[in-house]
Symmetry: C2
Subunit: 297 residues, 2 copies
């Protein structure tokens, strides 16, 4: 298959975590999907070298490895362990042949209320990890997470904050992850995407849709493309206007999707991508009145 609507599509492994790595690579080949974003835990369980060989033999490009980060600890021992774990993540990314390691910064330590200090500890960690990553041909991509995760998962809540951190370092060391789910509400995000693009810092672009009601704990509420409130083509327009023409990952955490047949979910996700964010002939099917006006809105 060579559906032009899927040229830039990358399936993030978490979207179909019910599939084993061999099942995923086989399904990708059968469905004409050429890109995958991988996660450390299933890769480690399969074996990093074995996973690298598997995806290489399947002709798949690894667009990102998720994820490093969790760099906000104040305890020196925890901090040293986090840094060591992030160096291992860089090694794994290099072994898998991807140039991008996604970073989720980490939340507030228990009882701590100082977001600003936590963000500064991330900068300190990046100063150590950035050069190490560059030596291994890997770029760190700070992912701002939705502000609803600010206390327990990620103190970096906006693209502006992520860029304020990233710009202290060379772009080949540190950039950002642009994920529609986390930034769609932010009227400043389009200008921040332009800022990121001008600096060569859009290291990956990920899609998920915003659906409600949010589930308890809010982590696994990332909606299937087209099911929610986000105009995917508008955001694709922003990153393209900023110069990003790379792969686009669909990364969904969603209990309902995980309960279904993984191959069926993968096919559905590819079709939704083609309709709502694909290049080429099929792109038009997603560009009705709701999404056709693109970045000019």
């Amino acid at each position: 298959m060579s559906d032009p609507g899927l040229t830039r599509f990358s399936i993030n492994q978490m979207t179909v975590k019910q599939l084993s790595l061999p099942e995923l690579t086989t399904a990708c080949r059968e469905l004409g999907i050429g890109n995958v974003g991988l996660w450390r835990e299933p890769v480690q369980a399969y074996g990093v070298e074995a996973a690298a060989k598997l995806v290489r033999d399947a002709g798949l490009r690894v667009t990102t490895l998720c994820r490093g980060g969790f760099l906000t600890a104040t305890d020196p021992g925890e901090r040293a362990e986090a840094l060591a774990d992030n160096r291992r993540a860089v090694d794994e990314a290099a072994a898998l042949g991807t140039d991008t390691l996604v970073l989720v910064s980490g939340g507030l330590p228990a009882g701590d209320k100082d977001l600003r200090a936590a963000r500064e500890r991330i900068a300190d960690a990046l100063a150590e990890l950035g050069p190490y990553a560059e030596q291994h041909g890997v770029r760190l991509a700070i992912e701002p997470l939705h502000p609803m995760f600010a206390s327990d998962r990620c103190v970096v809540s906006t693209l502006a904050q992520a860029l304020d951190l990233a710009e202290r370092f060379p772009a080949q060391q540190v950039g950002v992850t642009v994920d529609t789910y986390h930034i769609w509400w932010d009227d400043r995000a389009p200008e921040q995407i332009a800022r990121a693009g001008a600096g060569g810092r859009i290291h990956t672009f990920q899609l998920a849709d915003w659906t409600t009601p949010l589930p308890e704990g809010v982590l696994n509420g990332r909606g299937q493309i087209g099911d929610g409130a986000i105009d995917m083509r508008e955001w694709k327009g922003y990153v393209e206007a900023a110069g990003y023409t790379g792969p686009i990952e669909v990364e969904l955490f969603n209990d309902a999707l995980w309960a279904r047949d993984g191959r069926e979910v993968l096919a559905e996700t590819a079709a939704r991508f083609a309709a709502h964010a694909g290049d080429g002939a099929r792109a038009g099917s997603g560009s009705g009145s709701g999404s056709g006006s693109g970045s000019g809105k």
Copy 2:
């Protein structure tokens, strides 16, 4: 009682919604609480004039009425009904003797993905409602809600967005609600509080703490003061530096608190307020290492 730690404390009715209006006013008198924020539904159920007399006879000041808003409909009939309902809300606020009507803007209409257009419809509505409110001695207080409510409840997600709307109108018509729960994650919020204060637009200041995990639907996860990640004294410092010296409401939506005895929750909330945000002698008990450094952090 005349606890100086409670001088500025106002109990938002929703925090103890298990109490009837007479139970609430009685409990306030017994606990030395002089201010209440009321909600339209229980006030209407009791009767607006009767409620006004009840709180007046109890010597209570009504700090706000919650809430008007929901001004994002595109359907002309729905829109006209929303405007009419907001005029009634202004009338009710005036009858209750409060000068502040809190506005929750409303979410996206079903199937709509255009946040910018929805925000513009709010401005159109404010142009109609602002003069009406001023004629009745009531100020509209746009409340930015946390970005996790952007699609289904409130398309105004930051204090900056709220001020962008409010500043199109005179301050005696339209200002903002500063609520710690909704803005605590936002590194721009302190400067926006200063902006609001300089324009005389901080029409109310509300507190709730940020606790996780968030419950399904995320609406009823507002944490008791002191239980979460927000440094109340820091935010109180910001609004005070911006010139706000008025009442401070504690507004909690929390299933666990609603399941308890309402009078006990009221007493606990007052004590938490005094410890974490009170003026005067008892204020020191909440200003340990986590909260003592105030706005200078």
